[in-house]
Amino acid sequence: MAVLVDPTGGTVEITRRMAPRGGRTLRGARVGLVDNGKRNADIFLQALGTLLRERYGVSEVVPRRKPHFAVPVSPELVEELSAQCDFVIPGVGD
């Protein structure tokens, strides 16, 4: 019988939780947009940001771009946007 072996070694059990929404609303909120660097991600996110301002009373959108889509958002950017923003929208491709 064939045996499948995980070549990546031991698996680490991590469990994370979503942020509580707790009735937070978009009205007056600041929303970070994290563009993953793929083509048109910026234009799509800008359009989304405009709609959020026009229709949901979002006060400010903060656009940022990752240096490369394959790398996670940097700890510095997580820190910056977490300090500045109430919500974040990461995206999008291809």
Partner: protein, 76 residues
């Protein structure tokens, strides 16, 4: 997905947007990142070839789900 989860961990509600060709990858990533079933918004693939007007329409279509994921408490 991983990015959204990093912000969630910091207490910032996030709505990750992907194109629907990446559903499997997104689901696997959420599992790997310790948040199986993390909800996201999937828009039709691809977007790289669309005009600005078509992108605006995609944003319009995605908007209600983005708003829902940002504001509504997720059960389960």
């Amino acid at each position: 997905m991983a990015d959204g989860i990093l912000f969630e961990e910091r207490g910032i509600p996030a709505a990750a947007v992907i194109t629907d060709a990446f559903r499997r990858t997104a689901d696997a990533m959420a599992r790997t990142q310790g948040l199986e079933g993390y909800p996201y918004v999937a828009i039709p693939h691809p977007i790289s070839s669309l005009s600005p007007e078509e992108l605006r329409m995609r944003a319009e279509q995605a908007l209600p789900e983005v708003v829902r994921l940002l504001q509504e408490e997720v059960k389960g």
